[in-house]
Amino acid sequence: MADEKIELLVCLGTGCESAKSDVLFAKLSDEIKKHKLENKAAVKRIGCHGLCQQGPVIAVEPEGLFYCQVKESDIEEIIQSHLIKGKPVERLFYEHDDGTRIPHYRDIPFYAKQTRVVLKNSGHIDPSKIDDYIAVGGYKGLERALKEMSPEEVIEEVYNSGLRGRGGAGFPTGLKWKFARSSPGDVKYAICNADEGDPGAFMDGSILVADPHSVLEGLSIAAYAIGAREAFIYVRHEYPSAVASLKKALKQSYERGFLGENILGTGFNLDIRMMEGAGAFVCGEETALMASIEGKRGMPRPRPPFPTEAGLWGKPTVINNVKSLAAVAIILREGWEWFKSIGTEGSPGTAIFSLTGKVKNTGLVEVPMGATLRHIIFDVGGGVGTGREFKAVQTGGPAGGCLPKEKLDLPVDFDSLREAGAIMGSGGMIVMDETTCMVDVARYFLSFTQQESCGKCTPCRMGTLEMLKILDKIREGRGEEGDIEKLLELCDTVVKGSLCGLGQNAPNPVLTTIKYFREEYEAHIRDKTCPAMVCRDLVKYVIDPDLCIGCGACSRICPTGAAQGEKKQAHHIEQDMCIKCGACLEVCPPKASAVLKIPISKTLADIKGGAQ
């Protein structure tokens, strides 16, 4: 076989980049030059490859080898052994549960159990090069739409594919376009909603970094279909690398005639402008997003009129999520029948999740709609991985819900999740184990929506605040009988009395945790204990004098000086000074394990007595 040029693909997704993969990229480039290997190997930057847990990762193509957790000091060995001697560095391959090493990423369960459609290019092409995208069929969908199809035919194609909005609501994309097309008026707008605000979700940001042109292509197709000559991308400013990636992609698209005047010689004109958000979660709501583009406070307004009738500056407007638009480009390229063959009858296509929390393989995951939660968390994600018990999975961000292990066989699609009390949402999926307190989780989400409430609707503004006060009370061990009922009543009011999705869905985390984990609430209220030992007012840290070796690690790290003791003598923790940050527990050497976290009502003697 002729020697093909080896390509080293260095992942520069957020995860790998924060693990200093940019340093690896620079060093690899230098070393290849130094060893005069330019004819043999090339280094390429890629966006998120997916398996963030193992970052920084380097994929080696065309073989499909996969190096995990690469350090700067490993580069020399990769150069010497792999590039010069042709012997891949085995110790950097993915380590399987049984200790064996898996060389190719396609054989790693995390990848093998996925179906990558929208994420197909992510981690394989250089996002900064438009030619890379074109080489894998990019802009073919736009070309087909502009040259072979009328706008109505494009809408028909998307409608037939059954694509439903990936922002979370699941409204049929083709139908939305049809409404906007048929709304009267010469001036219309297409908007890409890239204001991915859900905490714990990074899919959209990753796609924008790894495959920005797919989103631009989808947006151009949407604009053509509805008759827009101007389009916007509203990106979250907290994603500087997505902003940079889009800027570059936009520039290249204009240069190559995919944007601007007379696109591909068809007479179609389109300008796409990028706008950075300014850190308001509610701007992910479409009417708030439009207010923000207009330069106003991002506050939602009642619908109808829907944006397809009166949107940006009162003109008919279509707003689509990043993943929806990336899927559109593929539908136009591959045809609606192909897309419809994936997923379920009611929800065709794939679902993309950012899988995080207490799970072995964190990262970016794409599966056909209808795959079960169990498949995603255990087959792809590798399970909890800490030896602890799976407790719950949270989908849909602050508007979503927590589902218990009894729901693991639930198929993941728009309708099934809603029925169970959670929502599909944009794609955050956070796994929780027995060390996660469900009251604390509910409080966390509620405090988020409470802070992000724009304040327009009183039930949302005040109702969430009252709910938060009750949850704080429960968390601090001051809960009373009847608090759960009060919470449920408030949930009802907030759902009914709020204008937009933020308020209407804000109670979901509380409702689902009460529904599935009521006994945890009751333990906090009646027994004043936190079963997961998370709520700080219900736990304390103590040092077992029999185990303490007096190394002083705890007293050195303690930020308040609560951990005290003479060198080589048993230490103790002054409870009055302790802020319960847990630093002492973290640094106590495993051979001693003298720091213990115990329920506030117990003493060390109780715990030790119970153990005997």
Binding site: T14, G15, S18, A19, C52, Q53, G55, E196, G197, D198, P199, G200, A201, F202, G205, S206, R229, E230, H237, E238, P240, E276, G277, A278, G279, A280, F281, S292, I293, E294, G295, K296, R297, G298, S354, T356, G357, K358, T362, Q394, G397, G428, I430, T436, V441, Y444, F445, F448, E452, C454, I557, P559, T560, I579, K580, C581, G582, A583, E586, V587
Partner: protein, 156 residues
């Protein structure tokens, strides 16, 4: 561009505020005065928008900006405890700057590094898989570097 001219002017407000903050580090009162004339808006309107969005700050930031991610993944992995430690060490609460102007502290909702939770961003650099010990080392390092820089300046 197709939008009516007055709306066009208004739609420049957020991008211009962003640029002001990028250059000055915050939205200074003088800048608002200037912007009001430029965009034919009242200062109240501008403050209304600036205070609605979390991104804009009306006070100068510290020399080092610490942003503690409190996204869901980071929360579940215990980032709130790390935040407590930072508050205790610097003696400030989120949203504040130390009296010596060295540090400012913010809580942010998700920086997208969920797979590396818990994450803390210091001066735009994301630090993933943080622990109490790693945090202590990081802050010690910054203190040391600042001290050395101060000494150097003092000697010159």
């Amino acid at each position: 561009m197709q939008a009516p001219p007055t709306d066009q002017l208004h739609s420049k407000l957020i991008p211009m505020l962003q640029e002001i903050q990028e250059r000055l580090g915050y939205i200074a009162p003088e800048a608002v005065e200037w912007l009001a004339k430029e965009l034919k808006l009242s200062e109240q309107e501008i403050y209304g928008v600036a205070t609605f969005y979390n991104f804009f700050r009306l006070n100068p930031p510290g020399r080092h900006e610490i942003r503690v991610c409190l996204g869901t993944a980071c929360h579940v992995q215990g980032n709130e405890k790390l935040l407590d430690t930072i508050c205790e060490r610097l003696g400030i609460q989120p949203g504040e700057t130390t009296p010596d102007g060295r540090y400012s502290l913010e809580r942010v909702a998700c920086v997208g590094a969920c797979a590396l939770a818990p994450a803390i961003v210091i001066d735009d650099e994301v630090h993933g898989r943080m622990t109490q010990r790693a945090l202590q080392r990081l802050l010690d390092k910054i203190d040391r570097e600042d001290e050395e820089a101060m000494k150097k300046r003092g000697e010159k």
